[in-house]
């Protein structure tokens, strides 16, 4: 019985939150990895793109709520998501026209593109704050729990509680649908193949029936969609704050690089590696420890790292991977 309680505690405090967080990171990392493999630079503006997309989704959600439109037990934000994606995609295309297009034309070095994206990041961050402010916003208005602590106790009679929030389920389900759609798109459609071809060999792509402008436009649209979905899911699961998305940039890049940057499967795997490490290392294992070894009464929390240091986990993994396996778990490519 104690073993089951320990398992329940691990599931409740580690596996469920880390899975939801991993799905959010994976979607973010997919956006970074797509830009990296097709446009060939690290897009530092991605975190703030997520913030912008989420901000738009929140505004539209409020609009829907004011009009009395709701999505039943699901959060209204899901209904607002397609509109948010459209606005974000439009902003991406606009940014590309105004900023990135010029640097592509002069064939700027990747490091120049990275610095340009840092500039875009600041502008986008300001735009988001201008649009929606810097306050913490909770915009989840759906049913809060799929399983709450009481239902769990009535259901199983276990002493250890387990809760499953609906946003966690929504995150994972949405992520699965998004990833499936993306892989179908990249693998089966002509546009997706053009994107892969462009990523494989840009010179040859230019000598083929591949319109580089279309590939670039489609890449930005998909990136905008991924960023908006990832940002909204994160905001639903935790809460929205304009600055948190900038901080997410580190774990997102760590995910993409750990998995092998430029490789979509790697981005997903990397997201989960990072999230499980982060949650696992910052969780206080005292409860689980006392279940498993009842005679042991630990003095501390049996917590390897304080949650204040959770970003250090991404940093450490990032450095270790770059030293020992720079191509990542799945073979990525280094431009």
């Amino acid at each position: 019985m104690e073993l089951i309680n320990a398992l329940v505690a691990v599931t409740n405090y580690v596996i469920i939150p880390a899975t939801a967080y991993g799905a959010q990171l994976a979607l973010g990392a997919l956006g970074v990895t797509l830009i990296y493999s097709i446009l060939r630079f690290s897009n530092f503006a991605h975190g703030d793109t997520m913030a912008f997309g989420t901000g738009v989704v929140i505004l539209i959600t409020w609009g829907f709520q004011a009009m009395g439109i709701s999505f039943g037990p699901l959060p209204t934000a899901l209904l607002a998501l397609p509109f948010g994606i459209a606005v974000t995609a439009a902003l991406m295309l606009g940014t590309d026209k105004v900023v990135y297009q010029y640097y592509r034309k002069v064939r700027a070095a990747p490091v120049v593109m990275v610095m340009v994206s840092v500039g875009v990041m600041f502008v986008m961050n300001a735009l988001t704050r201008f649009l929606i402010g810097v306050d913490q916003i909770n915009f989840d208005d759906g049913t809060r729990f799929v399983i709450n602590a009481r239902q769990w106790r009535d259901m199983t009679g276990l002493h250890e509680p387990l809760t499953l929030r609906s946003t966690q389920v929504i995150t994972v389900v949405t992520a699965i649908i998004t990833v499936a759609a993306l892989f179908w798109f990249l693998g089966k459609t002509r546009t997706g193949k053009s994107m892969r071809a462009f990523s494989d060999n840009e010179d040859l792509a230019l000598l083929s029936g591949i319109d580089p402008n279309k590939v670039v436009a489609v890449t930005w649209i998909i990136t905008g969609a991924l960023a908006t979905i990832a940002g909204t899911l994160y905001g639903l699961d935790k809460s929205f704050k304009a600055f948190t998305y900038f901080q997410l940039l580190l774990p997102i890049f760590a995910s993409a690089i750990v998995g092998g940057i430029g490789n979509p499967v790697g981005a997903i795997a990397g997201g989960f590696v990072i999230s499980f490490s982060e949650v696992g290392l910052t969780y206080a294992w005292k409860k689980v420890a006392t279940y498993l070894v009842p005679s042991w009464e630990p003095d501390g929390l049996v917590q390897l790292l304080s949650t204040d240091y959770k970003y250090a986990v991404s940093f450490t993994i990032l450095i270790l991977v770059l030293i020992f396996k720079p191509t990542g778990l799945f073979k990525g490519k280094i431009v």
């Binding site: 002509r190 997706g192 071809a197 083929s208």
Partner: protein
């Protein structure tokens, strides 16, 4: 017809192409030879739009095409292959070919989701064409293989196949035989001749293998130090003193000449010069 007039391309102070003028007649298979560093590949790259020329003009059927970008030239029917074969390694051989034609309906995001029927018809037509091309090149068995797994020679064939997916007018082949074994080189040679005869493709071929050049090309243009040194039929070129000197240096020239005189004395008509072919060819495929 491609006409190149006084083309100059310098990299810093080095003039890789130094006032080259030449013509590639429609319907010909023109060979372009010359020692390493003669400026052949640079000339190709300038004609194909990879590099902007420093000076000079390139015209195609009278139209000025100087400095046009590769994809613009592609749309005009001027295609090229690369010394080191280019392919899309993560796509299959068939997908590589299907990627070639321009302006496909499936390339827009809208059609991807809402124009499925239209795309399906187009894809079916492309698939048929790609399979025909693979059949022509005798590599049908490789159609579902990832192009990245092909051998160097098979990649060269695939490159040739790419030119067949569109209505090419002129195709520039850069060292089509480099690193290709003899049997495959013959397949490539046959394909070039058939494309030239049956479909009216014009070819311009850079190649070091003199047997290959002698069998396929007429006329042959010789470059050295960025300039056109000589032009004429393969046999004629190989007897040209300046050419032998450029290839072999003056020291060897006399020796070759001595052998030549002996051979000419022995046979009236001896065809390609084995001496020149062996010395100058890269010989990696023997």
């Amino acid at each position: 017809m491609i006409r190149v007039e006084n083309l100059v391309k310098s990299f810093g102070g080095f003039r890789a192409v130094d006032g080259a003028s030449l013509e590639i007649a429609t319907g010909s298979i023109t060979g372009l030879i010359g020692p390493n560093g003669a400026g052949k590949s640079t000339l190709f790259n300038v004609i194909a739009g990879v590099h902007e020329p420093t000076a000079g003009r390139v015209t195609m059927d009278g139209e000025d095409i100087t400095g046009l970008a590769p994809h613009e030239l592609f749309r005009k029917g001027l295609l090229r292959t690369f010394q080191i074969a280019h392919e899309f390694p993560s796509l299959t051989v068939r997908e590589n070919l299907m990627m070639v034609p321009t302006g496909q309906a499936g390339e827009t995001l809208w059609n991807t989701w809402f124009g499925r029927k239209h795309i399906r018809d187009e894809e079916a037509a492309l698939l048929k064409k790609a399979d025909e091309v693979l059949d022509f090149l005798t590599i049908s068995h490789l159609k579902d293989e990832k192009a990245g797994n092909l051998s160097g020679g098979q990649k060269k064939l695939l490159e040739l196949g790419r030119t067949m997916m569109v209505e090419a007018k002129i195709v520039f082949l850069d060292e089509v035989g480099a690193g290709v074994n003899r049997t495959l080189l013959n397949t490539i040679g046959d394909a070039i001749v058939r494309l030239n005869k049956e479909r009216g493709y014009t070819f311009c071929v850079i190649e070091h293998d003199m047997d290959f050049i002698g069998r396929l090309c007429d006329p042959v243009i010789v470059m050295a130090e960025g300039k056109v040194l000589a032009q004429g039929s393969a046999d004629h070129i190989m007897e040209n003193e300046a050419v032998i000197e450029a290839y072999l240096g003056t020291g060897l020239k006399n020796k070759v000449k001595a052998e030549e005189t002996a051979e000419t004395a022995a046979h009236e008509d001896h065809g390609a010069q084995p001496g020149l072919g062996d010395e100058a060819g890269h010989g990696g495929d023997q």
